[in-house]
């Protein structure tokens, strides 16, 4: 077949144009990411020292101080979110994967998909009216619940999808050994999907760790150490917001430092999740 050199020249040209636009698109997508990283790093690195992690914020006008309470607060909130979000999420995922054909299951799956698209501030409002108004005060508990609600659909759907990837032959192997279904599901199916589920969970943790909106009127904020989960609790994300809108130069510096810490935490979670995937693939 010979289409003539003009046709081939045209194809060659189109090939270059398409490839060129792909490269350009990639660069355009990477520029904001790289500049955010760069900017936060440059502005934030100066504010990071030991005091940042151990000290309380100083009153306006006083130099120094840190965000130790917010660091601990974020850890507390994320910890509570994991506690409330992961177990029901995984169990719901198991339900969808194992009994996913019923009408009810389809409804659950649909709700999970809808829930993952709900604006996070709506979740914050929901928890505010449900928990904060009934307990009459802001608390880490309320914040944790709000974050857990955001995690729930992600964990559920990840668990379901990964369980579906486990070959059915393994379930048959277990059932063929006279193992009851529930035990085959937990000890063979879930166990086999676990590394992948762990990655999904870590990514969802990374996602909620940086959430601000759902914490604004649930965990609220706190200039001091919280002495319990029933008290208003500081978090890095809310502090970034609070400090950034303040008129004080010192506070701005701390906001940048907090942004950097948060960014690095999320980055670390993401990277370790990918690392986990890679080592798992290599083990095969």
């Amino acid at each position: 077949m010979n289409l003539g050199s003009a046709t081939y020249a045209r194809r060659h040209f189109i090939d270059r144009v398409v490839r060129g636009s792909c490269v350009l698109g990639t660069v355009v997508a990477l520029v904001p990411l790289a500049s955010v990283l760069y900017y936060v790093l440059v502005r934030g690195i100066g504010g990071i020292d030991l005091d940042f992690f151990t000290e309380l914020p100083k009153p306006v006008g006083e130099a120094g101080g840190g965000m130790g309470n917010a660091v601990v607060g974020t850890l507390t909130l994320v910890g509570l979110a994991c506690l409330f979000g992961i177990p029901p999420g995984i169990l719901a995922g198991v339900y969808l994967a194992e009994f996913g054909h019923s009408r009810f299951a389809r409804l659950v799956r649909f709700s999970a998909d809808v829930m993952s698209g709900v604006p996070s501030i709506t979740v914050g409002l929901f928890v505010y009216s449900l928990v904060v108004l009934t307990t009459k005060h802001f608390s880490a508990l309320a914040g944790g619940i709000a974050l857990a609600i955001l995690m729930l659909p992600m964990v559920t759907r990840t668990t379901e999808e990964l369980l579906k990837l486990v070959p059915e032959s393994l379930r048959e192997a277990a059932l063929g050994l006279g193992v009851p279904k529930w035990r085959a599901t937990l000890r063979v199916m879930l166990r086999t999907a676990l590394p992948g589920i762990a990655v999904g969970v870590m990514l969802s943790v990374a996602r909620v760790a940086g959430e601000t909106a759902p914490l604004l009127f649930t965990a609220f904020n706190n200039r001091f150490w919280s002495s319990g989960v029933d008290e208003p609790t500081a978090s890095l994300s809310v502090n970034i917001y609070a400090n950034a809108v303040s008129p004080y130069e010192d506070w701005h510096r701390q906001a940048w430092a907090a942004a950097l810490v948060l960014l690095l935490t999320v980055l670390l979670l993401n990277v370790s999740a990918r690392f986990l995937v890679r080592t798992r693939v290599r083990a095969r």
Partner: protein, 310 residues
């Protein structure tokens, strides 16, 4: 074999004799068939203990027995009323073209058929005279007594070789008295011990396909089942690995009742004492392997084993 089989062997019934003219169980519309299958002459028949060569179908001491068994997926009936006794401590092969219900049939023998959504059964399957489809029988317990080896080797990927062998016991919550001994015994039974004894902690999936299949057989044997069902155990294996598994079947029939589904007629001829020919969900002919391969009563059997269809 180090495995304790004395109890299994002690009640082995005395050898039985009968002539070759025993009619097959399948409906016999055709009186005789020409012997023209010299190339499928079962070469390995000489291995087997001679006394079994003389047993006829009607003299089988059944370990299991299907009675008018029907099996369906939704509205499609795949097994259309099969009655078949499975001889104790012998090998029964089931042959037939694809889609004839071979696999479905043996999956009915340990209630694995019903695991598939929409799958149903009708009729009886007796295990030691008890109907395993009886309302009071727990399918989970049936599967403990009637073990299964699948078409594709399916060791648990999250477990080591050692843990795979013990998986059945552990997952059933059975206390391990002597795990190392149990692992060694089961692996020796499948002639895998010498190949893997230095890497028991390695993943079960790190083995070759043939080794994985023998590992799966060891995993089934560790539970000490009474019957072992093998669903085309060699179809995913190369010829050398197939030979190992066939050798293994020869040894295992000393202590276990074995039902093997196979696509490969030579394999049936090599390993089985009895052979059943299935076609379109029905039992066409069932007889001693030698008879099936040399003097089949049914035209369809003959057509199949001589390669005219299927």
């Amino acid at each position: 074999m180090n495995f304790d089989v004395s109890s299994r062997l002690s009640h082995e019934s005395a050898p039985k004799r009968a002539n070759d003219a025993e009619p097959p169980i399948g409906e016999s519309k055709k009186a005789s068939a020409p012997r023209s299958m010299s190339k499928t002459e079962p070469a390995a028949e000489t291995h087997s203990r001679p006394r079994w060569d003389e047993v006829s179908v009607s003299q089988i001491t059944p370990k299991m027995k299907a009675e008018d068994l029907h099996a369906s997926f939704g509205s499609a009936e795949v097994i259309k009323g099969i009655s078949l006794p499975v001889a104790e401590k012998l090998v029964t092969a089931i042959i037939g073209p694809s889609g004839c219900g071979k696999s479905t049939f043996i999956r009915c023998l340990n209630r694995m058929h019903e695991v598939v959504p929409g799958a149903t059964t009708k009729g009886k399957v007796l295990l030691d005279e008890q109907d395993i489809y009886d309302r009071n029988v727990d399918p989970v317990r049936v599967r403990g007594r009637v073990g299964m080896v699948f078409q594709k080797p399916n060791p648990f990927p999250t477990m080591s070789i050692r843990d795979n062998v013990l998986a059945g016991l552990r997952l059933n919550g059975i206390k391990l008295r002597d795990p190392d001994g149990q692992v060694e015994r089961a692996l020796r039974q499948v002639a895998l011990w010498d190949e893997v004894k230095d890497r028991l902690a390695k993943a079960g999936t790190s083995l070759s396909g043939g080794q994985q299949q023998r590992l799966c057989i060891a995993r089934a044997l560790a539970l000490e089942p009474e019957v072992l069902l093998m669903d085309e155990p060699c179809s995913a294996l190369d010829p050398i690995a197939t030979a190992r598994v066939e050798e293994l079947i020869h040894e295992l029939r000393e202590s276990y009742t074995i039902v093997i589904v196979t696509h490969n007629m030579q394999q049936a001829a090599r390993v089985a004492n009895f052979t059943a020919f299935f076609y379109l969900g029905q039992l066409v002919e069932y007889n001693r392997t030698q008879v099936i391969f040399t003097r089949p009563k049914e035209q369809r059997t003959e057509d199949y084993i001589t390669g005219r269809f299927g």
